[in-house]
Each structure stands twice: as structure tokens, then as C-alpha cells.
Amino acid sequence: MADAVIVVALLLVAGCATAAVATRDPMRQALVLSLLGVVLAVLFTVLQAPDAGLSQLAVGSALTPLLLMLTVRKVKRRAQGKERER
């Protein structure tokens, strides 16, 4: 039974990671990466590593998406600024 939870979590991580690579638009990739962070925290918990899970939750749920989305916004705003000048 404990093995069943581990298998479920492992397959979810594999699926999320593949989806994160296959999603080519950075904005949508940030959404998948935030889901990957949560799923990974669950995997760490079932592998009995709550400390690592806590660290993954803290980083993956809000910090990484915020950094990625701010970069996307900066690059987009810059491109829009250039368009307007033309």
C-alpha cells in the first residue's frame, strides 16, 4: 500500500516533467512548473523527506513562478516598447 502511493507520486512527477518540457510558451510552462513543484513536494513526503518537501513547497509554489513571470513580463514590455517606437 505504501508502495502504491510512491508509484502514483513518481508517475505524476514523470508526467509533469514531460509536460513542462513539452510546453513551449514560457507563460504556460510557468504554470506547469508550479504544478511540478507541488507534485514533487508530495513525492518527497512519501519518500519520508518532509524537510526537502518543505523546501520544495516554499520555492516551487510561489517563488519560481514569480521569478519566471516577472522575466516574461519584462521581456514582453520591452518588445511592446520597441513596437511603439516604430
Partner: protein
């Protein structure tokens, strides 16, 4: 090389690497096996020094020197970001127009901010007892501050967040960790050795010798680092614009 040729080279190399990795996986000790010599010794050493959370003991006592290395990477990564994202002379700052935030969202952000900040401090403080520690709690506390940007606007965040103070706190925490290490050297044993303070009673806040102090230093360092990082990114994304005509 064309994209197509490059893809073929990649696939050939990837297939070779995959074959090697699978061969290695099949020869690894089986998942869930009974033999963990390092783990058993680490648990034993941690219990001998009255630290309830073995992982904190590994991080801040048995492998404290390794954590110093990690902290250096963190510090230099933040330094790199600060240099890369500084305002150059052909850029200027534009006041962003405040966004209109729906009242329930604003109220939620203002209520959750102190709760999240306290949880972050709780996670740091309980680092040597229950799951948690400076690395995790620092990120939680620093992220909590940015609820003010999400729930109100950037100007509100800037008022309670003097970036200079966080930069100083970051540097102080990093040097605090080093000073603790040198204190071990002066105290007669070795760099970062956990021999200075009494180990205390098992499973209390003051147990573990220098572990809680190093843990607190890392918590401050990580919180300062994340605040400074996000400040630079927010400046770039929200305020800094290039001069027209460049």
C-alpha cells in the same frame, strides 16, 4: 549545422546516455533496501549531540562546511543578479499606475501576510526539532512580504522594504556564519566544530549546541537574499524602462 542535423546528433547522444543510465540503474542497490551505512552513522551522531532533527544536524553540524559552500553559491548568485539587473544610465524609472485590486483579494492579502510571516519564523525557529529550518523558513518569510505587491501595489511594498537594509542583513548573516566557524577554531577544536556550547536537553528549542545559531544565520541570509533578488526583478519588470530612441 542545420537544425535537423543537430537534432539527430542530440538523439544519438541522448540514446547512448539513456542506455548507460538504464544500465547503471539496474546495478544500483535496490530501492528501499536495508543498508544505509552513512545514514545510520549520521542518526547516531545527531542523537549523541541532542539534535532531534537529524537533517538539521547533518546540515549545520556534521556537514556545516558544505553548507558554508552552499551559502557562498547563494550569496554569489544574488550578487550576480544585483549586478546584472542594476539600472544603467540609458534607463529611467517610471511610476507604475496602481492596479485596481478587488477588495476581498486585498483583505485576504493583508490578513495572510502576518500569518505567513509568523509561519516562516516558526519554521526557522523549529529547525532543529521538527521538519523545517533556515533554508525553508527564510523563503517562506521573504515570499510572505511580497503579498503586499500582489494584494496592494508596488509602491506599498517599497515603503516597508528598504532594500539596503536587507542587503546589509544578508551580508551580516553570511559573515555571522563565518564568525561562528572561526569561534570554533579559536575555542580550541576545528572550523565550524559544534563543541562550543552545551548540547542542552533533547527536543527543546535550545538543544543541539551551535545548530540553532547557524540555522538562524542561514534563515536570515536566505530571507535577505530572496527579498533582494525579487526587488531587482520587480524593479526591472515594473519600474525601469529604457529611454526612447536607444
Amino acid at each position: 549545422m542545420t537544425r535537423r542535423a543537430r537534432l539527430w546528433v542530440l538523439l544519438a547522444g541522448g540514446a547512448g546516455l539513456a542506455a548507460l543510465l538504464v544500465a547503471a540503474c539496474l546495478r544500483l542497490p535496490h530501492f528501499g533496501g536495508k543498508s544505509h551505512p552513512y545514514g545510520d552513522r549520521a542518526v547516531h551522531a545527531s542523537l549523541a549531540r541532542q539534535t532531534a532533527n537529524t537533517i538539521s544536524s547533518v546540515n549545520f553540524d556534521q556537514r556545516a562546511f558544505d553548507t558554508l559552500g552552499e551559502m557562498t553559491i547563494l550569496f554569489s548568485a544574488v550578487l550576480g543578479c544585483v549586478i546584472l539587473l542594476r539600472q544603467t544610465h540609458d534607463e529611467h524609472r517610471a511610476r507604475p499606475e496602481p492596479a485596481e485590486v478587488a477588495p476581498p483579494v486585498r483583505r485576504y492579502a493583508l490578513v495572510v501576510l502576518p500569518v505567513a510571516l509568523l509561519s516562516g519564523l516558526y519554521v526557522i525557529a523549529h529547525g532543529q526539532l521538527s521538519p523545517g529550518g533556515g533554508f525553508q523558513g527564510g523563503v517562506v518569510a521573504a515570499t510572505a512580504l511580497h503579498l503586499l505587491y500582489l494584494g496592494a501595489d508596488y509602491a506599498a511594498l517599497e515603503r516597508i522594504r528598504p532594500v539596503g537594509a536587507y542587503e546589509v542583513a544578508d551580508a551580516l548573516a553570511a559573515s555571522g556564519y563565518l564568525v561562528m566557524g572561526i569561534a570554533g577554531l579559536i575555542g580550541g577544536t576545528a572550523f565550524l566544530a559544534n563543541t562550543l556550547l552545551p548540547y542542552g536537553t533533547f527536543n527543546t528549542l535550545s538543544s543541539g549546541g551551535t545548530v540553532p545559531l547557524l540555522n538562524a544565520a542561514i534563515g536570515m541570509e536566505v530571507a535577505g537574499a530572496v527579498v533582494v533578488l525579487l526587488a531587482r526583478f520587480l524593479d526591472q519588470a515594473v519600474e525601469i524602462e529604457e529611454e526612447s530612441g536607444t
